[in-house]
């Protein structure tokens, strides 16, 4: 517990209180003058009490959509509509910030509330990681290791000053895992369907949270013995269907924008194309003019998946070694280790839908959670041994895993797909004749 408190204080004072908005930095011209524009540099800026603030284009709707949530009139009379790409899929962020603005005095600076929401999200993620680990591992140490590793996880520590709340989907996954394991695993089918419908419905606004959670519960069900497995799978299917209907009803009423619609994406078409690709490939025919999982030719296997795996390995090396050790040390960690690869695929489904050849670190967070839980189980088993050597080994390896997360410039390089060494230089930015300058 002392270790967790120390880590959280360190993260708060060194990372959360810094003014760096890493995503804006990533998108600025001085990181990558020749190739990159992603909406941070130059699109728009707004006035805040502390000065002007540039915005990532995708993030602006997280502010403006608060106006739509604050409407009291029915849909037909609403003055503000939900907008943005993604707008509907990230509506949980304006919902959270709008809720925070109800605290007296908060509405004076809504932009500040985004930072507060990010800090709360970080604390909530740490709490949930502890609770989820405690549900699976009976030793007293594993939950603390899980909480410490999540407290330092780059998807959270790099986004304290962001307005996009990229890790929200994975925090939602942790919430859903906790609710499912603690409350629903042994519940009757009616309660399962009702609760999962609510979870899936809200999760459709939580940056992919519903998708991560549905995938986890689907995969998790295969470890449930007896008929409970089929009840869970049936309840999940029913809940996903009902939540889609619920959102479709609201979508028609409020003209909610959809990323899938904007991209012209269809799961049916992608699966059909991929099936055609597979048939051609198995017969040895030319597949260069076909597409597999939305990528042309063999790009998925030759470029995309290696890119995702490289990015994941570069941030999770120590944890993966621990998770592999957990296969022998702690049987209860095995499920999480086995789920890491499918959750890595599910996490990155957004870029697959878009056909983008890019590695986004936060999309690896669902798989990261699996590896963290598996590694925590292994660490907890080692730390719980009576002999001194394994306990020292557990602390040393945990410290190494934590240390690997602490270089934010290195993590930012991995997180934004440019490579771990990309942002290592010290940056000075000078503004005309102003005497002060910024330094990163």
């Amino acid at each position: 517990m002392i270790g967790l408190l120390g880590v959280m204080l360190g993260v708060f004072f060194f990372y959360a209180r810094s003014k760096v908005d890493w995503e804006i930095l990533q998108t600025k011209h001085y990181w990558s003058a020749n190739t990159w524009y992603y909406g941070g540099y130059a699109a728009q800026f707004v006035s805040t009490p502390g000065g002007y603030r540039t915005l990532v284009t995708e993030g602006l709707c997280n502010y403006t959509n608060m106006l739509a949530l604050g409407e009291r009139a029915p849909a037909s009379d609403a003055r503000h509509s939900i907008q943005g790409f993604p707008g509907t899929e990230r509506l949980a962020t304006p919902f959270l910030v709008y809720a925070l603005l109800h605290v007296p005095g908060e509405s004076a600076d809504a932009w500040r509330a985004f930072w507060q929401a990010n800090v709360l999200l970080w604390i909530f993620s740490v709490f949930l990681a502890y609770r989820v680990a405690a549900l699976f591992f009976t030793d007293g140490c594993s939950p603390w290791f899980a909480a410490i590793l999540v407290a330092l996880y780059p998807a959270l520590t790099l986004t304290f000053n962001a307005i996009k709340q990229q890790p929200l989907g994975t925090t939602y996954l942790l919430l859903g895992m906790y609710v499912f394991e603690a409350r629903l695993a042994t519940a009757g089918p009616a309660l399962k369907v009702a609760a999962l419908t609510a979870l899936m419905f809200f999760g459709q606004f939580a940056d992919g949270g519903w998708c991560f959670l549905a995938a986890f519960i689907f995969l998790r069900a295969w470890w449930i013995p007896g008929p409970g497995k089929w009840v869970t799978l049936g309840s999940l299917g029913g809940a996903v269907g009902l939540s889609w209907l619920w959102l479709a009803w609201l979508g028609r009423m409020y003209h909610l924008p959809s990323v899938m619609h904007s991209l012209g994406f269809s799961f049916g078409r992608m699966l059909g194309d991929s099936w055609t690709w597979l048939r051609a490939w198995t017969t040895g025919a030319d597949v260069s003019h076909l597409s597999f999982l939305n990528f042309p030719g063999v790009t998925f296997f030759s470029v995309y998946w290696p890119l995702v795996c490289r990015g994941f390995l570069s941030s999770h090396g120590v944890l993966l070694v621990l998770a592999a050790a957990g296969l022998y040390l702690e049987p209860r960690s095995r499920m999480f280790t086995f789920l890491a690869v499918p959750m890595l695929f599910v996490g990155h489904i957004g870029t697959i839908m878009a056909g983008w050849l890019f590695y986004y670190g936060y999309l690896s967070f669902p798989a990261g959670v699996m590896v963290i839980l598996a590694a925590s189980g292994a660490l907890g088993r080692l730390a719980g041994m009576r002999a001194l050597a394994p306990r020292i080994l557990a602390l040393a390896v945990a410290a190494l895993a934590c240390w690997s997360f602490t270089d934010l410039k290195r993590q930012a390089g991995t997180y934004y797909g440019e490579g771990p060494d990309y942002y290592q230089r010290r940056i000075e930015v000078h503004y005309g004749n102003e005497s002060g300058h910024l330094e990163y």
Partner: protein, 239 residues
């Protein structure tokens, strides 16, 4: 009123006045409260109420005691009843998508007969701590930059062969060589048939806006130093 082993303190009853609750009645109570607010006209936003309802159901399932469920439901009711003021930003500035002909990006024409001047104070460059002098570049983003004449310290630099593309617009990079003046002056003016347009990319610092995508970068082995400057405008012949 037994509790499971491993149940957290928040779930443990402290008095018989706060019995355990099933998720059904608490979810029903949440739906009833929000439904009543809808029918009473306090909030007719079904999207927002749906999100609150799903949150209320999740709380009803996650919390096992009325003493934890009721404040949660009360919070949902409060959020549904009490609106807060959110400032409408209007169109953030610049609003690139509102301007026809810019293809989604804000660019500003450099009119014929005008010279735009940027003065970059390089006073900190020598203190960068690098052994060798860092390589410096002048970068400009915009459209139709082939019609742009760039002068660095009064010396015209040919621009057209240094133009690349960057996400759909022209990207000009000019090496600065050994320019180490205390103040480096860059002047831009148009030439030729195409009127150059400079990308308006706001670099902001406090309440100052460095709007034009015209900047310097000096990159060494350990440091990268960036300079922005504000635009000065003069008519041709006056500069």
């Amino acid at each position: 009123m037994g509790t499971r082993a491993g149940t957290s303190n928040i779930d443990r009853p402290r008095s018989p006045f706060w019995p355990a609750c099933s998720p059904w009645p608490s979810s029903g109570l949440g739906a009833a409260i929000l439904g009543a607010l809808y029918l009473a006209g306090a909030d007719r936003n079904l999207l927002y109420l749906s999100m609150l309802l799903s949150a209320a159901i999740m709380m009803s399932v996650a919390f096992r005691r009325w003493r934890t469920v009721l404040p949660g439901l009360g919070l949902c009711a409060y959020l549904a009843c009490v609106p807060v003021s959110v400032v409408d930003l209007g169109a953030p500035y610049p609003a690139p998508h509102n301007r026809p002909g810019t293809e989604g990006l804000w660019v500003t024409e450099l009119p014929p007969g005008e010279v735009w001047t940027y003065r970059f104070p390089l006073r900190d460059l020598r203190e960068s701590g690098e052994g060798a002098a860092p390589a410096g570049f002048l970068y400009i983003d915009g459209r139709d930059l082939s019609g742009l004449v760039v002068e660095v310290q009064g010396n015209a630099r040919t621009a057209s062969e240094r133009i690349g593309t960057k996400n759909g617009f022209d990207h000009l990079s000019i090496p600065l060589g050994d320019e180490r003046a205390a103040v480096l002056t860059v002047a831009l003016h148009g030439a030729g048939r195409n009127t150059p347009r400079i990308y308006h990319g706001p670099e902001v610092h406090g309440f100052s806006v460095y709007g034009d995508a015209v900047w310097l970068e000096f990159t060494g082995s350990r440091n990268r130093i960036i300079y922005h400057a504000m635009r000065g405008v003069a008519k041709t012949g006056a500069h």
